[in-house]
Amino acid sequence: MPLTMASQGEINSIKSIRGKDETKRFLENLGFVIGSKVTVISEIGGNMIVNVKDARVAIDKGMASRIIV
């Protein structure tokens, strides 16, 4: 399922990231790679703060929906 559907506080593992553009690369550089654990810390209207590799990253809805967990 896309990360947007994950519930708060639950630890998920990234299965894939859709798309093949700079945004995907940037996410990967930030630690969003296959197998990484992500936790949704909070969510406002689809925009999310997630914890990945001990860093807190804010991403918008469009990006969160491309991360499949």
């Binding site: 990967e28 630690g31 990253v57 918008d60």
Partner: protein, 717 residues
Amino acid sequence: MAIKIALAGNPNCGKTTMFNELTGSSQYVGNWPGVTVEKKEGKLKGHRDVIIMDLPGIYSLSPYTLEEVVTRNYLLNDRPDVIINLVDASNIERNLYLTTQLVEIGIPVVIALNMIDIVRKNGDKINLEKLSKELGCEVYETSALKGSGLKEVTDKAIALAKSKAKTIPQHTFDNVVENGLAQIEVAVDSIISNKEQSRWYAIKIFERDEKVLEQLTIDSSIKQKVEEIIVACEADMDDDSESIITNERYIYIGKIIKKCLNKKQVGMTTSDKIDRIVTNRWLALPIFVVVMFIVYFVSVSWLGTIVTDWTNDTLFGAWIQPAVGDFLANVGAAEWLQSLVVDGIIGGVGAVLGFVPQMMILFFFLSILEDCGYMARVAFIMDRIFRKFGLSGKSFIPMLIASGCGVPGVMASRTIEQDKDRKMTIMTTTFIPCGAKLPIIALIAGAMFAEKSWWVAPSAYFLGIAMVLFSGIVLKKTRLFLGDPAPFVMELPQYHVPGAKGVLIHMWERGKAFIIKAGTIIFVACGVIWFLSSFGWNLQMAEEGDSILASIGNVIAPIFAPLGFGNWKAAVATVTGLVAKENVVGTFGVLFGISEAAEDDPALLAQVASMFTVISAYAFMAFNLLCAPCFAAIGAIKREMGGWKWTLIAVGYQTVLAYAVALIIFQLGGLVTGAVSFGPGTIAALLVLGFMLWMLFRPYKPVKKEKVLSAGGQVNV
């Protein structure tokens, strides 16, 4: 020969703090990613021949963001003698990703495991020896904030630079990838002159890095061969080449972490718990509004007024001004000199200085909010709202900073990666009333609205925000800015209790500019205004109405007549506002010959009140708040826009919009209250209003731009 040491690391891991500590300088340090956008150079304290380079924070050496390009070009082309790689110890896994790339470029690397105090506090343990062995370079624990461990790191760096030792990458990727890389290394062997970098280039070619491919000029036969190798590898690993490398790096780091990091705490950190509340879906906005209300209420209305009154009434009014006046009279100074000093200098400069305490309090609060990590969250909270108006959440930080001063506000726009978003933010940021515009608001509020003036200051902020949002919608529909706002990704710092030293330094750094301005530009400007208003063209002292300034003002004044302030004093004040916005009040002070004209001085208020009607005063304020900012801010706009063309577009847009808004306020507001009768001016105002509404509501087709990646030839979906 001088040794060059480069500081490289992830954004917000403490590079600039360390740079300041090492060089004794005081570069701006902010608590969100991307504060340093240009490289900065300084000399290491106690070593004349060691140069320290502060580089922008980056997550990787790929060429996607401005910061990455700046840092990468410096490292590859200027080749510093040694790199100190700052690694945020509290976030070691992600930080080491960059390390794996830095060790590949053939420059010796020393690792500074920074923020080690946070790790210790959490009870985590990092095995330095193992880490050092795994990475192939020395590792030292540091805390840039406390200044510990820095000497060891720099000593080692200098030793490494002198011995010309090399750092050899210790990591290997999956066999399939390694095979491919080896084949590429052989294929391009003839092109790479610097053999130390051959692995780096092999990897970059494998990743199809556009900038590297451009730079290398590989002939087509080799190119084709390389492409075959890459495609074979991609088929094998079922991913695109760049993602393969990224994954491989993280797999390798994962292994190191398992061996070297002993994490005590699992589950939610305190920072995450705070975020649960502060960025909560329902609570985020109310909390933000309350926080900002408290900040502005305390610094502008309550505590700010108390200290400003004291500065004006006691410090200047009761002590300095009479003392100086008496002194000049006693020594028998010429009347013109007394007039220059008391009316010109103290009148103008005092009006500005009296405002400094209020600004300092505002900056104090903004510094606390920034330092503890809340500011970065605000961008996240505001993103969803700003997106509706064609801006991204990142536009909000420059605007918040601009409420202190427009210059750092404009500069903060650099954290916005997308060019169109950044330009639009630069154009609209100065609509938010800055500290220097507060005296204008206070003056108009006090003069025209007397007892019922509480709503004037909030309405000025509201006007600024409304104009930002209006511009967001309207500009997005023009050809220059068409397109969706960029996707929002931003790393958030951990919350921490702000240090007193850091906050006070921040406050001082921000407030200093105003005091310096008062002592330099405004000092001179007030002297010039005094001279021009006291002397006629024949260089004899003249009545104000016959002065040089009056005749200049009378030429400009008709431009502002449709806005309701077509008298020469208001015109001159507006123009002097370009030098510094505080000058608007300072100029009135000089022109009305009131020594120490603070914005709440009763004599000044009475004079100003006689010059305006309620409506024209508000129009005057609106114009001065929205029109072209001061020269310093225009200079910042030019630097950030990178040329005069965009600077003129920005300043032109601001001034035209200011004129339009002031016209509507005066003409239509006047018509309603009966102060203005229906005429050509009203018709013009109605036409302008109609045009603005049409721009706001006209439908437009959002053109979805499909970006084509040239490297792999794939089209994005």
